[in-house]
């Protein structure tokens, strides 16, 4: 039997979840629409984490039950997990993907949920002093992404378009 080189751990991050990975990994999201993927990376520690949040805000009880679903609590929880691994907020950089408006001609209240997700993420990150170094947000297309926790590379693809690297 041929010896295979060990593949790097590939880990999907489902809707409403987040993952901070202490070992080198590729964190993936397939079919991201109005949700926002927040990728935090520390270039010196070579460690990264990804949150896949659905909504810009939630009631306190909702945030406490499922923090990963709401942008502000997802970011806070992710920072706490970095902290648990000995990585302080200073030096972290962020990349944002998603926040699309999938349905053209959607009812008014639906419109802008993607935008609101992005704004919520930008606001919380700014408050925490974490710079957003790259983003691919808005528009009307679904996205898939692969985030490399070691070097902070982020590959984003849409249907019928070549993938781009952020």
């Amino acid at each position: 039997m041929a010896i295979q080189t060990a593949a790097i751990l590939e880990q999907p991050v489902p809707m409403g979840r987040l993952l901070v990975c202490p070992v080198p990994a590729v964190l993936t999201v397939v079919g991201l629409g109005s949700c926002v993927a927040i990728f935090l990376h520390h270039p010196d520690h070579r460690i990264g984490g990804l949150a896949h949040a659905l909504l810009p805000s939630g009631k306190r009880s909702e945030r406490e039950r499922t923090p990963g679903k709401f942008v502000p609590s997802a970011i806070e929880l992710m920072l706490q997990k970095f902290d648990d691994l000995g990585v302080r907020g200073k030096g972290l950089v962020a990349k944002l993907v998603g926040g699309a408006s999938m349905f053209v001609g959607a009812t008014r209240e639906r419109q802008g949920i993607g935008d609101r997700n992005i704004h919520a993420a930008q606001k919380v990150l700014a408050e925490r002093g974490i710079p957003v170094v790259a983003s691919d947000t808005g528009g009307h297309s679904g996205r898939s992404l692969r985030a490399y926790t070691q070097d902070g590379r982020l590959e984003v693809s849409t249907l019928r378009q070549p993938p781009q690297v952020l």
Partner: protein, 203 residues
Amino acid sequence: MLFCDLDNRQVDALREVGNIGAGHAATALSQLVGRSVSLSVPKVDVVPFPRICALLGGPETEVAALYMKVYGDTRGNILIVFSPDNLATLAGQMLGKPVSSVHSLSALERSAMLELGNILSSAYLTSISQLLHLSLIPSVPSLAIDMVGAILEAPILEISRVADTALVLQTEFQDTNNAFAGHFFLLPDPQSLDTMLDALSRS
């Protein structure tokens, strides 16, 4: 009420609702295209969100979806999902002229597709309204042709605030040549399920 508390009798009742609604929608569709349309037995399931994606071929599969919100006495979401080619075929039949490319639709082609959403969701909801004596009104339809995963976020967004699963009434329909098979989904909001079940027990 939480979805997982549904008993068998309630699931049967919801299945009957799905059956009647989809039956009327299929009749409307077959009159629209002048061909007979057959229906599967409706499924009523409480499913975790990722399973809905899996049902439609996985999160990255490209589909064409018509999306309507339901307003009135019961709230929810209607999603009608086709393969892009099938929706193009249907719109072509409605217009009497084939759709050239599903990825660069003319205003008229797009409008035919949206009208299809209007007709099917109205037929579905009107029959349920009459059965349950509830007022159910579809919103203006909207259209997306993209990855299943990205599209499904819209109807489950509000549900996801309180739940990790959705109650799904699903019916598959197809014509004899299998030229426009599609899926019809009704996802009632968790908060309005009680209204629907009350109405069911009275009818």
